[in-house]
Symmetry: C2
Subunit: 473 residues, 2 copies
């Protein structure tokens, strides 16, 4: 039994080493042959598929339709919006040859699809009747990285990118907010990760946006992860791509746009957040396997089948481990893979019409009647889901501070880390100085921030809002 | 009403012009800004999503798991299997720069993923316990093309590629056959397209395969479309990628492999097959919208809502067209988009508790009780599905010939075209000569072909099987 446990590095000792180790050993992902790339293995990909199903249902209910746009973007198209190309140029992969010939114009492998999509929007949108245009695509994107951090930073990643066009700025802002709220639901209700909703500073916002909304999560090491973003693009792109419509009163106007994205990076946040020294802990709502049944002897097969079928009939995702591994290895394996509930069934359980259940998060072990186990499994899984969230919420609260002096600020950032609320003058010079000195960046201005009259924690000039600062992934 | 119809080119006059026209006007797809690329619009993408759901269910029931491998393949990896790289080299897009620097080794954008997947298989497969390994990925691939034929030939396309590894050759062959049968089901049972199942000639098979199975469909112009393929890879790749396992009796052996793929190309075949001069005709089983309701006046809204809800409750995919277009435009639009059933509801229908239904494929129009319409819709849609298949089956039968002389062969290929069964000596020289002279290639050796004793239709040397020849897309 000690075999696997000994092998897995301890989260309590070094979270970064543990993370790489558990992602590889739980078979979530592996390093690809090209530097910076990653292979998503079936256990990891199943989590992405569940995330896709959850999110796809939300956006389709709101009238968003899926589509697919080309991978390659001509450099001239990418360069049309000045801030956009400045932001993405250093990260591009460039195709220079195709079909054995040098291309007349190099092609960028999409880092994001605003430019290629909006060149088409200009063609499709003519009248106010064509608005709102609500599109989304699930695809791969490439942003050049030399150092891989599995899921969290890879050259290629998978995501959804939503892109909408509206007749008024109010409509666009409302949609950006709607996407922001969808992301909150994904993280809080499914990933069991409490998040902070807010607006990015001008320095930190998306290249080409009027403003960016962000969902920020706090990791166990006190660093924050930008987990999904939603942008009001204003008319920045519609003006350069000439996306105009004739309004109800016959005027030609530029559309107002949004874009919003959630990527496989979010899964990295999920794995980092909930695990412990024994491995992953996956929230039941998105776990590919919610319950694993381990038969202790071969003689209990019929009983095991009956319990499994009854659980499957209630909608629970169950796997029976019939491999010829030792019991110890099986227990460790499913603990490491973060399955919420393990059911052990031996002769003793069959005799008493019971099952032994072991909860992954609390290690609680108890024997209950098998019929009870079936009828109560759904609420048991919900309890686990809620407990994981509550635990993280308590952690977030313990690691959220208000700093009234820069000394205090520096002390927190050099010890526990976490989120620090602090007054800031909104000048990029102070933002940069704070970053250089403490590694902390502005994470966001929380949506519920109230206006105050105070002074910037760094320069002492007037400041009106408490921003959240944190070190980031 | 004549407005849209006049605009749409006629299938009966020039199928190629009609096809491009209807794909654009029905908003299935549009040309992308880079030569050879295509944008899949929501109406076209919804068909791909349905195809994905259908196929994903089939493969998962057989234990296949989805995963995701990197887009970029180092050229050295691609070059490991000699025939494979020879086959794909002329079609590659190559990334030479990343993150602002010239790369030490150029990267190919995947044209297919055998090489990158199998470099990982070598790491993951150790023992017979790791077999069979059954993986699939849904992704984009790139094969350089200069001339676009929407859906049918584009630089980038979407597909699934299944890749499996087995302990024995028999197991691999059985799996290749299983995938082949799945493809038959997709085409015949969902796309309403009768297909021929067979094996490719050595010239036509996949670069690197031991043999390739194909699903061939006949288009209305008598040309055939290779619609999906399934390959027995033998040990060709396992030997060069060193994928070995220890067998039950402790020997080191190379695995036996398969790969199999279905792409967005299949949708092109679907559109070509069923349409007519009025536009698309989509088989109900995969149509994004099966029934469209057109209210004739504003006064019937409550009644329309009742009919819609009752239909939705039976699982039918319904859309109510509440746009402010004219009736004529609405009728033409939904005909062009190939919706199986149109329901018209006006004051007359409300008064009589009826609806007027118009079938897309036969243009039959009748008035029936609305409750009857609801209870019978499912069987009506099934009848339409079957009728579309039967029509194509009759067409296929009429255009399938046996040629007993090369003169006869040439005559068919220069007139009606179609599938020609003909004895061939299986020498690539004859195959090439026939292609040069008639544009017809070997499509496949049908699975049910019987051994005969005869002579090659071209060279007169001994021949033992009747192969199917046809001109291809």
């Amino acid at each position: 039994m000690a075999f696997v446990k000994k092998e897995l590095k301890k989260k309590s000792e070094n979270i970064s080493d543990w993370y790489n180790d558990v992602v590889l050993k739980a078979e979530l992902a592996d390093y690809g042959p090209v530097k910076g790339t990653m292979v998503i293995r079936p256990y990891g990909y199943a989590l992405w598929e569940t995330t896709q199903q959850i999110f796809d249902k939300m956006i389709k209910a709101a009238g968003v339709q899926n589509a697919y746009f080309p991978l390659f973007i001509p450099m001239s198209l990418l360069a049309k919006e000045k801030k956009h190309v400045e932001g993405f140029s250093p990260e591009l992969a460039v195709v220079t040859h195709g079909g054995g010939e040098k291309l007349a114009e190099p092609l960028a492998v999409r880092p994001t699809s605003e430019t290629i999509m909006y060149s088409m929007f200009a063609k499709w949108i003519q009248s106010h009747r064509d608005l709102p245009l609500l599109l989304n695509q699930w695809c791969n994107v490439v942003r050049w990285e030399k150092r891989t951090y599995l899921f969290l930073r890879t050259t290629e990643f998978l995501w959804q990118e939503g892109h909408t066009a509206h007749a008024t700025h109010d409509d666009a802002i409302a949609f950006a907010n709607k996407a922001h709220e969808w992301y909150r639901q994904v993280f809080e209700e499914y990933f069991a990760m409490p998040v902070i909703l807010g607006r990015k500073s001008a320095t930190e916002q998306f290249a080409g946006a009027a403003f960016s909304l962000t969902v920020e999560a706090l990791m166990p090491d006190g660093k924050s992860l930008q987990s999904a973003t939603s942008h009001d693009l204003g008319q920045n792109f519609s003006k350069v791509f000439d996306i105009q419509f004739s309004s109800k009163d016959g005027k030609r106007e530029y559309v107002w746009q949004t874009s919003w994205g959630l990527s496989t990076r979010a899964l990295g946040g999920l794995f980092l957040t909930h695990g412990d020294d024994d491995g992953l802990i996956l929230p039941p709502k998105i776990a590919p396997i919610q319950v694993v049944i381990v038969p202790i002897t071969k003689t209990v097969d019929a009983y095991v089948a009956r319990v499994k079928e009854a659980l499957v009939a209630t909608g629970v995702r169950v796997l029976v481990d019939e491999s010829d591994d030792s019991m110890g290895r099986k227990f460790n394996k499913w603990e490491m893979k973060g399955v919420s509930v393990r059911i052990e069934i031996g002769e003793k359980e069959v005799a008493g019409e019971t099952v032994t259940i072991i909860l992954r998060d609390t290690h609680e072990k108890k024997q209950i009647q098998w019929k009870e186990c079936v009828t109560q499994m759904d609420s048991l899984l919900n309890e686990i889901q809620q407990r994981l969230f509550d635990k993280q919420k308590a952690f977030l609260d313990r690691h959220t501070f208000t700093a009234y002096s820069y000394e205090e600020f520096k002390k927190i950032m050099s010890t526990t880390k976490g989120f620090i609320h602090a007054l800031w003058c909104e000048d990029a010079t102070c933002e940069k100085a704070i970053k250089d000195e403490t590694k902390a960046t502005t994470r966001c201005l929380p949506l519920d921030a109230k206006e105050e009259k105070g002074v910037c924690i760094y320069c002492g000039k007037p400041a009106y809002h408490r921003w959240i600062f944190g070190q980031s992934y």
